[in-house]
């Protein structure tokens, strides 16, 4: 102790040094929010282009703020892929970290899609590798095919797609999990009594495979339906899976509470099945909800177990206006999800209500930022 006390002069010097440098304490914003649990089913936040650069008038140097989450040449929320024709109604397969294959319908802008294309990206946002993989060439496919749904079955990409007149079809890849060329199996069979609500040929298939059984979700009329199969071709109807919400007079709602976004129809199912950390089966269903004014947004519903009714989440998980409000309503529809360890990317048609058709991309949880590699 004497040494300590006798060392006063040297410590005063130390104090002097330290205090002369004394500065404000500014802690990092709190953490504690890393790797939080989430079912990665929304709400989704549109990926953005937020990087801005300015010339500093005092130094003459350029300074930049913000991060781009999308590549150069895109707008907020729009995935990048080469030119026309536009891609529609995506389905996503994940092949690695940010490695995504999308299967989309393509056709002339403003008209129905007439082929299925394959888009591949190593960063999940810029799709340079685009190839048509499935043409319209069967008489029973009618004048249009689209709404693809891809899944891996026995080491092959298996593609379900639909035609407005012919219902749902299946094709299987000749090149295994690459999925760049396909053999068509023809239409699937939907057996059992159809619901009176099933007023149109089945469309927009979404298929999951578990325990050796296929579970198909599809749209018809204004509802979503469910069917089951052991071979992926002959399905037995299970009934209605999801119905539109009841309409509510907006005047009866409290200020700020939106009326249902899906009181006209539900469409475009996108389904998958997981075991929750508590060991329960959770079936996750994203879908297109349309309101009576013609708007569309993406909704979410879930179900514990493989049977029973789905429960909807209040409000849409993606839709409404695009960020900043600088563009029209997104009219989001036809969702597909690429799920990664810590987040999920949503791909969806992101129309503006006019003739422009684009493929939007958004992320959940909203708090996660996904800087694009080009942004330093």
């Amino acid at each position: 102790m004497a040494g300590v006390l006798m060392a006063v002069p040297s410590r005063i010097a130390l104090l002097g040094c330290a205090l002369l440098c004394a500065c404000a304490t500014l802690a990092d914003a709190g953490r504690g929010d890393v790797d939080l649990p989430n079912v990665f089913s929304g709400p989704f936040r549109t990926l953005k282009r937020a990087r801005r650069c300015y010339d500093d008038p005092t130094t003459g140097q350029q300074f930049c703020v913000g991060d781009d989450e999308l590549p150069e040449g895109t707008q907020n929320g729009i995935a990048k892929y080469p030119g026309l024709p536009p891609s529609r109604s995506p389905s996503a397969l994940v092949r690695g970290p940010l490695h995504v294959i999308l299967f989309v319908g393509r056709g002339k802008e403003g008209s129905a899609t007439d082929r299925i294309a394959r888009l591949e990206s190593k960063d999940a946002r810029k799709f340079d590798d685009v190839v048509d993989v499935l043409p319209l060439d069967r008489p029973d496919e009618g004048a249009s095919i689209g709404d693809p749904w891809a899944l891996d079955v026995d080491g092959k990409v298996t593609l379900y797609y639909s035609s407005p007149t012919g219902g749902i079809f299946r094709a299987r890849a000749r090149d295994g999990l690459v999925g760049s060329s396909f053999d068509k199996d023809g239409p699937i069979a939907l057996e059992g009594a159809a619901s009176p609500l099933e007023t149109e040929p089945a469309r927009a298939p979404s298929v999951m495979l578990f325990g050796g059984r296929y579970r198909l979700f599809y749209a018809s009329g204004t509802h979503l339906f469910e069917a089951e199969s052991t071979d992926g071709l002959r399905f037995r109807r299970l009934g209605v899976a999801l119905a539109p919400s009841a309409s509510v007079d907006p005047a009866t709602l409290p200020e700020g509470v939106r009326p249902p976004f899906d009181d006209a129809s539900v469409d475009d199912p996108c389904v998958d099945r997981i075991l929750t950390p508590a060991g329960r089966v959770l079936v996750r269903l994203l879908y297109t909800g349309r309101d009576k004014s013609g708007g569309s947004s993406i909704g979410y519903a879930g179900r514990f177990g493989d049977e029973g009714a789905f429960e909807k989440r209040a409000g849409f998980v993606y839709g409404g206006k695009l960020p900043g409000g600088l563009t029209k309503n997104s009219h989001a529809n036809a969702p597909a999800v690429a799920r990664f360890d810590d987040f999920a990317l949503l791909y969806a048609n992101q129309d503006t209500g006019e003739s422009i058709q684009r493929l939007g991309v958004a992320i959940s949880p909203q708090t996660i930022s996904l800087p694009y590699p080009e942004s330093p």
Binding site: G30, D35, L36, P37, G256, A278, E311
Partner: protein
Amino acid sequence: MRALATLAGVATAVSTLAISTAALAGPAETYGFLSRSTAMGGAVSADATDVSANFYNPAGLASAPGVRIDIGYMRANASLRMNGKDNAVDAVHGLVFGLVAPGKLLGMPFAFGVALHLPDDRVFRVRALDQQQPRWEIYDNRPQRLFFGAHLAIQPVKWLEIGGGLVFLAATRARLDITGDLSLSDAATSRLRHEVDADLTSIRYPQLGLRLKPTDRLRLSAVYRGEFQLTLDIEARLAVQAKLRDSSCATTLCVPFFTYLTTSSVNAFLPRQVVLGGSYDLTPDVTLDADVTWIQWSSYKSPMSAVTAQTKFDPPPGFPASLTPEKPAPTVVLPPNFQNRVVPRIGVEARLPLSPKGHSLALRGGYFYERSPVPPQSGGTNFVDADRHAFSVGTGLKLHAPFTEMPGDIHFDLHAQWSYLPERVFTKDSPADPIGDYRASGQIWSFGTTLGLAF
């Protein structure tokens, strides 16, 4: 004149007692205060007569044998996980410092104490997250704050000590006013200005402690700690001219836009507590301590921000409908519904003489069990917590009058504390819940050292 002196002395002491300040708990409540008391599981409300009595029981200050100054450092690293992934809960670390100055005031034993835990990087933090975002409610933000206390204690009779003060904390209130021109085509070029009227307002709550010494070997204690919280209320008023382009209002669309945002949140809530404790000398060199703390967690306030947003925007014909602002619904803050808990603590200290001069070595151990006050999170909130078993050990070296300049004792204390939070499974009632089911578990390591000078 003597009567006047007595009156002045008592008035000063009592008045100072009435305004003595202590920003309680936070890091001290969660991880203990000073190495000796932490090593003994915090079960020292009847045993602390050193600087740590400022936190555990200010009545004990009156038994301080002499002036004592303590300085140290502590750090607690949490490895708290959800679904097996570490959530990077911030470590708690900071300087600890305190002193106790006993004396006699008009013949009555009297003591004054000061204690401080100063975090390295902030005085305190107010943090409010989205209501549904999972957060380690007890460990994430609550310990991220200053602990500062100043107390008085008296010993009116030999077997009774009384101590206390008022707990003091700051509520933050701010009014922000923003005016100017808002450019809708390039928001960053907007010409806006602002005014600020903000303050940290004093809030005071009572804290009292009693210490009884029925025999030479037995001490009993009772402590009452008041409830308090950090509040943050902010009003932001935005009254601007929204312009579609950066041109004058005379030639382009220009609309008055008014938004009034309020956000109100509560943080670092410390529930009301009552502590009953005992300390018994098994032998002259071995002391056994035990505390039981009743904690009124049921009054816990949600840290969620209650937000309201009002907008007024009346666009003229021709103004793009897509630029019309939303009118979102206000937040509905769900009650946390925490449950009251009783926390048992136990501690033991054995003092081993090292030399006839009075040097000694103390070995200490302690344990406490905190049953989680957080109910199942099956709905829209995600306050994550688990039961906590905390084991602590420590040692203390006392050197008596080691050299001429130091006629008293030098104390060098160390402690380590390991908290184990066994896995807890949270399930949701709704399959549409955005968070879903999850598992939570973890452990926390805490270390500290204290250098004390007793005169």
